[in-house]
């Protein structure tokens, strides 16, 4: 009995010495911020993901007319596109600022995004938390009106709370507020117009692999709203080529700034009134 135990013990000791011949590979324990979303915008609404210091993100966003216009309008593509050209700059890892111009109403907007909390790989911080603000101005000439600068302004504020749940799935919820200093419609007798809207945004991204992913966004307007407006919704297929993120999507809204989407979406996605669009995001890393 003792002989067996002794031989066994000797074997164990020798085996453990041999096992040191090559180290067992162990992953490094890293606690770095998680990349919650692929791009700084889900589709049209901002994500809690920030750019990072020294990076510049150029975006070209387009959408067309309603698909329901049919063959005669080539499912909306014959109509002129609404386009937002924008550039955002990462001033620090947690703060980015940007400027953009939308062809509708020649709306020029300035925006910022500040990341308050980064979701960490260790789970120590389980969510990404960011605030986003946007101020736009309608610069279109109005031959029949003489709007003051203040009357042309529109605003957006949002608190973006996001989490990447696993390698594939991320989601976001975002309480929002939208305000227009002045709301103009053709019919001056309408009394249902609302300057300030509250809303809650929902979004998600599902990564099929390194290159392809799907995303979804929906904004539920809360409380008072202007008549004949609907909740914006969009579904997108994203292609990440390494340098670019392309987004091909359908949406019922016609805008790329949240304040307009919330207050000015007049088509009902669930009635089949949606349009095709695509975005191109290109990030340049300029930091040495």
């Amino acid at each position: 009995m003792i002989r067996i135990s002794f031989v066994g013990l000797l074997c164990i000791l020798c085996m453990s010495a041999d096992a040191f011949a090559q180290l067992q590979r162990k992953p490094a324990v890293l606690d770095e911020p998680v990349e919650v979303f692929l791009a700084q915008s889900l589709i049209t609404t901002g994500t809690a993901q920030n750019l990072g210091r020294g990076n510049i993100n150029s975006t070209i966003m387009h959408n067309f007319d309603l698909v329901s216009t049919g063959y005669q309008e080539f499912w909306g593509l014959d109509a002129g596109a609404n386009v937002r050209l924008g550039i955002d700059v990462g001033l620090t890892d947690n703060l980015s600022v940007g400027i953009g111009r939308t062809s509708s109403e020649d709306n020029v907007d300035l925006r910022f995004k500040y990341t308050v909390l980064n979701q960490m790989a260790s789970g120590k911080i389980p969510v990404q938390l960011a605030i986003k603000g946007d101020v736009g101005i309608n610069t279109q000439e109005q031959p029949n009106f003489d709007f003051s600068t203040a009357e042309r302004l529109n605003y957006f504020g949002g608190l973006l709370v996001a989490r990447r749940f696993n390698e594939r799935f991320s989601a976001q919820i975002a309480p929002m507020i939208s305000h227009f200093n002045m709301v103009v419609v053709d019919d001056a007798t309408r009394s249902d117009l609302v300057n300030t809207h509250l809303a809650n945004g929902f979004g998600a991204e599902y990564r099929l692999n390194d290159r392809h992913s799907f995303s979804f966004e929906y904004i539920a307007v809360l409380g008072d709203r202007s008549d004949d407006t609907f909740n914006p919704m969009a579904l997108s297929w994203q292609i990440d080529t390494g340098g670019h993120v392309f987004q091909i999507f359908v949406m019922n809204g016609n805008w790329f700034t949240e304040q307009h989407l919330i207050a000015r979406t007049t088509d009902d996605f669930f009635a089949g009134d949606f349009r095709i669009g695509f975005n191109v995001n290109r990030v340049f890393g300029l930091k040495k």
Partner: protein
């Protein structure tokens, strides 16, 4: 009597193992840096998670680094680098070989050192020789070494920075203090 004999054997074996272990030096916090160049622009990536073992008993040298721990100081560039190196599939850059130059453990002088073995990254491997220095210190052994790595040797497609391809040749340096290896490491 039998119990005493067994105890004696165990004590002797323990002593033997201690002697063996003292010939091994280990680190899990070494520094490795790569230096990349594109025209008019250089950048580097650093990891402080270089893990390695030098066994002076049989002269084996075993090092690896988790490539996810390389930090270039730019999140987007880190992401691009990880994609280029396919780190989700090939997580480690690793070297396994032999110390082929003599090393005098009784001297505290800086001694030239040369290792030869296999370096593996991106799922590809190649025999290399690396030169550097070893120095016995009160804490253990200080290792400094470096070599030039050709991305094409490992079928790594050089990434582009502002449309310009990163040069194929990358300089790699390592700097690590290895301390006597203990069983719990």
């Amino acid at each position: 009597m039998k119990r005493s004999f067994l105890s004696l054997i165990l004590i002797l074996l323990s002593g033997l193992r201690t002697t063996v272990v003292a010939q091994k030096y280990f680190t899990d916090s070494g520094e490795t840096i790569f230096y990349s160049k594109v025209p008019l622009h250089n950048f580097s990536g650093t990891s402080n998670n270089l893990t390695g073992l030098i066994n002076l008993e049989d002269n084996t040298v075993d090092f690896y680094v988790d490539l996810k721990s390389l930090d270039t100081g730019n999140g987007k560039r880190d992401k691009d680098m990880r994609k280029t190196l396919k780190v989700d599939k090939f997580q480690y850059g690793e070297f396994f070989g032999k110390l082929v130059s003599p090393f005098d453990t009784t001297s505290t002088d800086v001694q030239p050192a040369k290792v030869a073995g296999i370096f593996k990254i991106h799922g590809k491997e190649k025999e290399i020789e690396v030169e550097g220095t070893l120095q016995k210190t009160p804490e253990g052994i200080q290792l400094i070494a470096g070599w030039m790595l050709n991305l094409s040797d490992y079928e790594i497609k050089p990434p582009k920075l502002l449309m310009i391809k990163v040069q194929d040749v990358q300089e790699i340096t390592i700097d690590a203090l290895l301390t006597p290896y203990t069983e719990d490491q």
